[in-house]
């Protein structure tokens, strides 16, 4: 009796193992809320060649670092109109994330940090419904010739209004990229 029961158990387990396997290929996951590319276009107010600053990380959290490009030098004593475009290029066609940020403008804000001796200043050019800065549009005033960095940070779920510093704003970082910038005389 013992043996028979044991054999029955074994047979049962065989059925169980066989019936559970499935060979369907799983679906790939295409990450939705990923920002792969930030392009900052700086157009001189008096007309002239626009300068672009771009960071592009097509493999997202993968091992490859973002590719950072700066198309040229800024000119001293010039004011530029800045426009930021965010894209998710893992999808085809690329998804424009800027629209999402502008729709949820009360939960987002760009921060601009000028460092390393760069003689420039930034002013916000667009605002959310509560008249707090958003920053997908801004103006950059290049003063005297200098070299330094411009760090651009996008945060969400942050404190608004804030004193303009990252520490006070808190929140979650969506983008943090530093560009090396040169202002020619």
């Amino acid at each position: 009796m013992k043996t028979r029961k044991f054999l029955a158990f074994l047979a049962f387990s065989g059925i169980l193992l066989a019936s559970c396997s499935d060979d369907d290929d799983p679906d790939p996951v295409n990450e939705e809320e990923v920002i792969t590319t930030m392009t900052v276009t700086l157009t001189p107010q008096g007309g002239g060649t626009a300068i672009t600053l771009q960071t592009r990380d097509l493999d997202g959290d993968g091992p490859n670092a973002p590719v950072v490009t700066v198309s040229g030098e800024l000119s001293a004593n010039t004011t530029y109109n800045g426009v930021i475009v965010l894209l998710n290029e893992t999808e085809t066609p690329a998804e424009n994330i800027t629209e999402e940020v502008e729709e949820e403008d009360d939960e987002h804000q760009f921060f601009f940090t000028v460092g390393g001796g760069l003689n420039a200043s930034i002013a916000y050019a667009n605002f959310d419904g509560n008249n707090n800065p958003l920053g997908t549009e801004f103006t950059l005033t290049a003063n005297d010739a200098s070299t330094g960095t411009l760090a651009i940070t996008l945060r969400h779920d942050l404190k608004k209004p804030n004193d303009g510093s990252l520490a006070d704003a808190g929140g979650e970082t969506d983008i943090a990229q530093t560009f090396n910038v040169v202002i020619l005389p």
Partner: protein
């Protein structure tokens, strides 16, 4: 070998106390059920008449001066489980009894005193008392286990507590819940065992892989949770526990009811519920640290001496909020958190569970059968089914705000059977086989790349263990086990990661489909694991014994170690497994000296665990993304050596005063590089002074001091490039926090209410002085202080 003192007193003093004119006698023999040899020293007690006798060397007994009628006879023996028989006593009554002279894990009879089966006869083993389990009724299993010397825990906050034995955790610590190996995604550091502490009646911890009948890969150890034994008699009993917890402004309730029948049937149901809001550190609210937990279990079956079966079902659900401040954006945020020493988000107290949050559900169903064959042994067979579902919610935006970032479903079927030959008094042999199928499904609807892939896993195992007693003092045991595992996974790799890892050269043949930026691969990995153990035990005298054990064990890598690949959003780290990781092999040598006397007791447990190809997870650098830089944690194999020492003891100063002492130390070292192993528990000493006065409503007051030393042995920190500072900075990710000292208080009283009702109340204060501290093995130590003062008021009603 402990003879219940109460019984001895009963026998010695109560017999002369009753002298009536009843004339009947009861006599006969008590024999071993297995081999029919006489049992000497068994107590035959006629309940209701308080008359008893001990059996002589031939197993004979005789009780005179009994009144006639139907009585219950209780049969007990120091090495057997107590039995109850209904008997009609009339004139010269003769009755022979059979007792089971060996203790088993599946018991069908009433338990007496603390005669409990050891899971490993020669290894290091410790047991949690029912009282400790009840004291921690509003906490977690891991919290209760931590009271044992040599057991620590890897925490994520205070609600996620993952037990660690001898400095090892994760897949190296197996949890056996009522004979079922828990399959609840133990691979993740932030995955706590899915067990309601209120469903456990007895818990023992075996250090190292010394209990081969359960598993061979328990390089750290086993936590064995058992249910109470069911008495074969008509009875209805239960208990209810209510807890108020001040820190978290919540509490828990748990109730259990058991109905047993003389026919062997039983029915048991247990349910518990726990709710806590935000926990509090001494100086601030730990925002988003509340939790809610539901546990339910049902058991039924029929248990007789010769055969029996059980059906069990249990359900567990936990919703656990994870400290909001521990969700960080990138490495600059992490540097900021480590440097500021304060959580970045502190909000007013709430019961709401926000994000990050885990929602875990575990179903366990089991059917078991045993058959005892007279003069041969016992056969058991068991099937169990487990379903584990885990959602992890993260801080997300837009339409994904309420979507889980992780959605995994793990389903496991296990079939096992074993046979124990225990008919010989001196030799016991056990053999068994096991088959298991497991399926993991990672739901792609999360919109986040799978951290753990879809996989199917097949396990086959077999073991043979034996123990032999020679003479009254010596016991030797040995065992051998083999396990085969196959993992058949379907995993997507980012093409860039695939190349960065060098898989394009080593694993080109497993690519199924190229999707441009991603590759679908089909890794099929086979592992053969051998384990063996040998040990001896020597009884030194009535109170003390010495044990020595060697355990050889191999553990296959778990899915996280093999496949982990991606950003852990809530931990802000990129975790990388490696397909090339193979088995790790442990050689563990342990000694144990145990003395348990009336006045003092002492347990000394030194051990050496040499692990070849030890798999560890450590910070190795940073990777840059558009969101900034993230620390990378990679799995790696190396040879390691753990040297540890656990000690515990007690001294009874007087009838009222007792002190208890515990100390644990473990040193882990990586052998090739001569550096310390990461996440080794710091030395800890726990000392308790207890005052007892049974005549004052069972008053017991204990003052406990816990001192945790600073962990001075840790691997070096890493240096990373901080984008915001535009320079390399040292990330103090491995630096342990300072030593700390905590005081605790426990006071309990009992109030018998008559008719079998018993009310007891316990007041516990944890962190009495509201000390600010951080614990090295708490993964949230970078972000916030640990818990402040916590007052727990517990009411327990037994009926």
């Amino acid at each position: 070998m402990r003879i219940p003192i109460a019984l001895v007193l009963l026998v010695l003093f109560q017999i002369p106390a009753i002298a009536q004119q009843c004339q009947a006698t009861l006599s006969g023999r008590v024999l071993d059920f297995h081999d029919q040899t006489p049992l000497a020293g068994a107590t035959v007690l006629v309940l209701g008449q308080q008359k008893a006798a001990l059996t002589d060397l031939d197993g004979r007994y005789r009780i005179e001066g009994l009144c006639e009628g139907d009585f219950e006879v209780e049969l007990s023996h120091p090495q057997c489980l107590t039995l109850l028989y209904n008997l009609e006593i009339k004139g010269e009554t003769r009755k022979d009894f059979e007792m089971e002279h060996h203790l088993e894990e599946l018991e069908e009879v009433q338990v007496f005193g603390d005669i409990l089966a050891d899971q490993s006869k020669t290894g290091q083993e410790q047991r949690l008392s029912t009282r400790t389990l009840e004291d921690y009724s509003s906490a977690s299993l891991g919290d209760a286990l931590r009271t044992l010397s040599g057991v620590s825990s890897l925490n994520t906050g205070s609600n996620i507590v993952k037990p660690a034995i001898g400095g090892l955790t994760g897949s190296r610590v197996l949890i056996l819940n009522d004979g079922v190996r828990m399959q609840d995604m133990e691979w993740g550091d932030e995955h706590a065992p899915n067990i309601d502490i209120n469903s456990a009646d007895q818990v023992s911890v075996v250090k190292g892989a010394a209990a081969l009948k359960y598993a061979g890969d328990a390089i750290g150890g086993l936590v064995i949770i058992e249910r109470e034994r069911i008495a074969v008699k008509d009875s209805l009993y239960g208990k209810t526990l209510l807890n108020y917890v001040s820190n978290g402004r919540g509490g828990s309730a748990s109730t259990e009811l058991t109905r047993t029948f003389a026919s062997g049937w039983y029915l048991n149901g247990q349910a518990s519920y726990k709710k806590l809001g935000d926990r509090e550190a001494p100086d601030y609210i730990l925002s988003n640290t509340g939790m809610q937990e539901v546990g339910l279990s049902l058991h039924t079956g029929k248990r007789l001496l010769n055969q029996g079966w059980d059906l069990d079902y249990s359900f567990y659900r936990a919703d656990i909020a994870v400290l909001r401040a521990s969700h960080i954006g990138n490495i600059d945020d992490l540097i900021g958190s480590i440097n500021s020493g304060e959580p970045s988000v502190v909000e007013p107290f709430t019961y709401d569970l926000g994000v990050p949050r885990q929602e875990v559900t575990h179903h366990l169903a089991k059917a078991g059968y045993y058959l005892r064959i007279k003069g041969l042994g016992k056969w058991t067979a068991q099937y169990d089914f487990q379903n584990n579902r885990r959602f992890e919610y993260d801080v997300r935006v837009g339409a994904d705000r309420n979507k889980p970032a992780i959605d995994l479903e793990l389903t496991t079927h296990t079939l096992m059977t074993d046979f124990t030959w225990d008919s010989s008094r001196d030799l016991k042999v056990m053999a068994g086989v096991l088959g298991r199928f497991q399926d993991n499904f990672a739901n792609p609807d999360t919109g986040v790349r799978r951290l753990i892939p879809d996989y199917q896993k097949y396990d086959l195992g077999g073991f043979l263990t034996g123990e032999y007693r020679f003479g009254p003092d010596w016991l030797v045991e040995a065992g051998l086990r083999y396990d085969y595992n196959r993992i058949d996974a379907q995993k997507f790799y980012r093409t860039s990661r695939w190349e960065e890892r060098g898989y394009d050269e080593d694993f080109a043949d497993i690519v199924v489909e190229d999707l441009g930026t991603q590759l679908l691969t089909n890794p099929v990995l086979d592992f053969h694991n051998l384990s063996a153990t040998a040990g001896a035990r020597r009884q030194l005298d009535a109170h003390s014994e010495l044990r020595a054990n060697y355990a050889f064990a191999q553990r296959p890598p778990n899915p996280a170690e093999l496949f982990s690949d991606g950003l852990h959003h809530s931990a802000a780290r990129i975790e990388l497994g490696d397909l090339r990781i193979g088995n790790e092999t442990s050689h563990r040598v342990s000694l144990a000296y145990e003395r348990e006397g009336d006045r003092w007791g002492l347990t000394l447990e030194p051990y050496l665990n040499h692990i070849q190809d030890f798999i560890l997870l450590e910070p190795t650098g940073v990777e840059f993304t558009i969101r900034g830089a993230f620390p990378v944690w990679s799995y790696r194999q190396t040879d390691a050596r753990l040297l540890g020492f656990d000690a515990s003891g007690y001294y009874r100063w007087s009838a009222h005063w007792e002190s208890q002492h515990r100390f644990s130390l473990v040193r882990g070292k990586e052998l090739d590089q001569d550096v310390a192993l990461i996440n080794m528990p710091a030395p800890i000493t726990r000392n308790t002074l207890i005052y007892r006065n049974p005549s004052w409503k069972g008053l017991e007051v204990g003052l406990e001091s816990t001192y945790v030393f600073r962990q001075n042995e840790f691997p070096p920190n890493i240096s990373v490039f901080s984008p915001s500072q535009q320079e390399e900075v040292v990330l103090e990710i491995n630096t342990p926090p300072d030593a700390y000292h905590l005081l605790g208080l426990r006071a309990g009283m009992q109030f018998p209410l008559g008719k079998g009702l018993n009310l007891s109340s316990v007041l516990t204060v944890e962190n009495l002085l509201n000390t600010r501290y951080r614990e090295y093995l708490n993964r949230q130590r970078y972000f916030a202080d640990d818990l402040g003062r916590n007052i727990i008021l517990q009411l327990k009603l037994n009926y």
